[in-house]
Amino acid sequence: MIYCMYYPTKTVGKKRGTVMIYTDNAATTPISPSAAQTFTKCLNEVYGNPSSLHSIGQKAAEVLFEARQTVAQCLNCQPREIYFTSGGSEADNQAIRSAAHAGKKKGKLHIISTSVEHHAVLHTLDRLKDEGFEVQLLEVGETGLVTPQQVADAIREDTCLVSVMYANNEIGTVMPIAEIGEICRARGVTFHTDAVQAAGHLHIDVSKQNIDMLSLSGHKFHGPKGVGVLYARKGVALESLIDGGAQERGKRAGTENIPAIAAMAQALKEACSEMDEVARQETAIRDRIIQGLSEIPHSILNGDRDKRLPNNVSFCFEGIEGESLLLMLDEKGICGSSGSACTSGSLDPSHVLLAIGRIHEIAHGSLRLSLSKYNTMEEAEYIIKTVPGVVEYLRSFSPLWKDKVSGKNPFILK
């Protein structure tokens, strides 16, 4: 059974092919058994088209509505404010383009965002720049935070959108969303947040937090891939990215992916109902790993120590490169991720690590471990026993490291 690869077992850290410790949940999560069950049940039994008027179609329409209700309850909004998309990226694209083009009609061409957003946001903003929008990316502090004051100071008469991520996917920093929402509402500016890493992990209340638009993705909280949500408050104009039928109130054409939508709703409901308990467990494991890895000399924690996702551990280790670290850890049965250039597929390391002031050399040596409810303290102990040895091994033949040890070049991290 494939679950044994993901779920807690008594044997940890064996080589590939046996048990792996999966700590790359910010990339994606394994589907929960109940979401998988919902998925297969719908796939087999709810095959009708929700747009069909016969009973089989209407059964599907019911399942779709229930899913919409469930998601709305989790976010504290109305079901009609929930639009199902293909995932977080599509939701980000649609939210940002909609708000921008609505602004343009009123002659407002100024957009505020941050330098640490996901590429789904940043690349959409790049496209809008080409269309004549002025995009202002707020710089973040050394822990990856923007302040509500920064947002307040940046808002102008012609600002049509503020888009600030809820929590950062690489360094786990949680932004002051409610405070930013309050400012935007008071100033009459549409506020969008990319909540892909936060949904199902942190308490979100779009009404209380004054969020106008929010994106989330099903597979980040043990739901299926290829499905997500755009929440758009009633009265916020949406433009469709995909034209065709009248699905999703005419804002997203295409026959609805019922199994994925229903499974995502189930996963979100489950995640929200056990959120506090999971967060407590993850935080304990996270803090143990942070404490253990902090012992490695010349290393540094990335992101805010306190305003941090319960499941995020992110470090930079001086003198080594992230991809080789990842692959060595994979050999030892630990799946993680890195923001090094070699893993980002470009020549530059992660824009997030650069934005918080890590220079290229340091950013190359990054490691992100992101937890889920399936991780255990036993796995944490294995991780903190294993990572230092791998770092030491890679340093042992790194000319960069040796030049620092010999005193030829200075150390950058303490």
Binding site: G319, E321, E331, S340, A341, C342, H360, H364, F397, P399
Partner: protein, 128 residues
Amino acid sequence: MALYSEKVMDHFKNPRNLGSIENADGIGEVGNAKCGDIMKIYLKIDNEIITDVKFETFGCASAIASSSMATELIKGKPVSEALELTNKAVAEALDGLPPHKMHCSVLAEEAINDAIKDYLSKKEKANS
């Protein structure tokens, strides 16, 4: 298909000729920290034959594998032959590298060239 060939993974996991040589006859170092790749090659040369070669590398798996393979390809070879080592030969010996990792094989070629240049200039100085 996996990102890397089995050969790349083998040389990454079990690097050949890892380490340094004291009183090396030639040392080459290329790359920089900003780009995330630094390769250092040490040569021991007797009668124009590379009798020993070691490497140290800061970089990704393909950088480590490329250094390892390059050292294997020149070990025991005459200096003149080592000078002709191309990045293509390194990549081919590794059963190929992904397109965006080809620069790792280029670095390996350059590191070896740099080490041989160092050897030749030292030799010239000694003879003059």
